[in-house]
Amino acid sequence: MSTLKSVIRRILSSIPVLIGVVLVIYLILRILPGNAILTMMGEHAREEVVQQISAELGLDKPWYVQFWVYITGLFTGDMGTSIKYHKPVSELIAAYFPVTIKLSVLAALVAWVIGILCGVISAMRKDRLADRLGMGFSLLGISVPVFMTAMVLQYLLAYKLKWFPIQGTKEGLICYVLPAVALGWSSAGSVARLTRSTLLEVMQSDYIDTARAKGRSVSGAVVFHALRNAMIPVITVMAIQISSLLSGAVITETIFSLPGIGRLCIDAISGRDVPLLQGSVIFATALVIAGNLVADCLYSVLDPRIRKEG
């Protein structure tokens, strides 16, 4: 019961953040120096054309009126109409969204499985060769730009060896393998580093000694006792990684020509399509907030202390 209560409270507390997100994007696109319409039409647009378009988009009203119209629209799923595609933004997002989700979920899987595995191995073989290799691999993952991994994989495995399709999504799930690995590696690095350090800390606690005294092997103690508690900070980092996965998705989608939300943002920018840009960024951020919410809830399931403090 108390878990349900704290879950509901967390959901409610993320609503102001979401409204803040919409407001910030709104203000950046309308208030910052540089007129969105002039950007859209080019510097030499005729005054009456600018005014006509402003009126059509409701941009001649004060910004708070526009904001109110926009945010009430959001709750009914209305995100405005794309200037470039002449379709509702929500429809476009619905069409492009599944690709990004597939890519991000696969990348997250790569990141978490490899990251946790690498972290556990490094922690259990501390200061030995496996540890150094694991940590080197992780640090490299954090330091290599996503576009570099993506291009190298594309060049070697797709172009030279022809194991994978070079781009597009025609051939099904196999098209997502290279983008997901390229995208997941950097997050895997962060997850591995944190898993290692928290696991090393947890392994020094009394209950691990108890488990060992009761006859558990070292790996048994890690799997059955330590890992569960070491996972708590790791989950937070995973939640943070959702945000960087979506950032990286923009790049991988560009390199591998995948039609996802990132692609949509780039299209919106090159097509000077403000409603589409606004809608897709807000949608992506909403995904991040939702991901953090899930992590928060997982957190309270894993750690009873947090649940009680509520």
Binding site: V17, G20, A36, L139, S143, M151, S243, V250, I269, T285
Partner: protein, 302 residues
Amino acid sequence: MALFKSKKDVLSADLASQIGESEGMGVRLRRMARKNKLAVASAVFLVLLVLAAVFVPVLSPYDAVNGDASTRLQAPSAAHWLGTDEMGRDVLTRLLYGARISLAVGVVPTMISMIIGVALGVIAGYAGGKTDYIIMRLADVMLAFPSLLLAMVIMYTLGDGVMNIFLALALVGWASVARVARSETISLKETEYVQAAKSIGVKPGRIIRRHILPNCLPALIVLFTLNIPSAILSESSLSFLGVGIKLPNSSWGLMVNMGRQFLYNAPWISLAPSAAIMLVVLSCNFLGDGLRDALDPHLNNE
């Protein structure tokens, strides 16, 4: 007054030894330099790179802007260490010219975001209450955005230009700095020497300048070195996507972007700047890790 001062000094020296800060920053840095060879090598590499970027007009016999049509798309050789690009320009020379903007983009926006973040974080932590609530909710909102998307939107409104990219990255980066500065301030606010200073009537501004900021410094220096690589990565991603640095300026991200169409016949054009980004980011991370071990007692695992 003299009496107070000496008491305060004794008090803070006592506390400092309790939290393991009895040694000066210089001593700890020197010990790190002896122990952590990787961090030293990284620092040397970064300094050499900066020097090379500054003196490239003297060092390189080639022109970065005008190419030589007879040497188009040549693979790396003794004459052209990193090959040539589609216009016959030496990739290494262009790389070093590009380093100027790429490195500046690492440092300048990070500095701006540190100043904004520290100011807001310290104010939030010290004032508490409503001020704290408002500043930190704003930080929550900024941190909810996927950073690259937010930077893209800001760049879209501001338009191209080096100054605009500085501004965009600073606006994206301040929130995480504010969180660190706030939590440092809150824990310092509870220390006895700050309480003592408060009780003898020292004004908040002076307490912040004399007691809070100097003690935040180690954590902030570490954060600074670790934020530089992420700024460099962000700039290169933005330029790679075509919403960052644009011609006639040049940065590593832009070079990768321009070279991408030749990935299959001349991979060095885009891989060389990618590798440069990787090396700089790796060095900054090594240096940051080393500094953290040396300077920040909270994060020190040993």
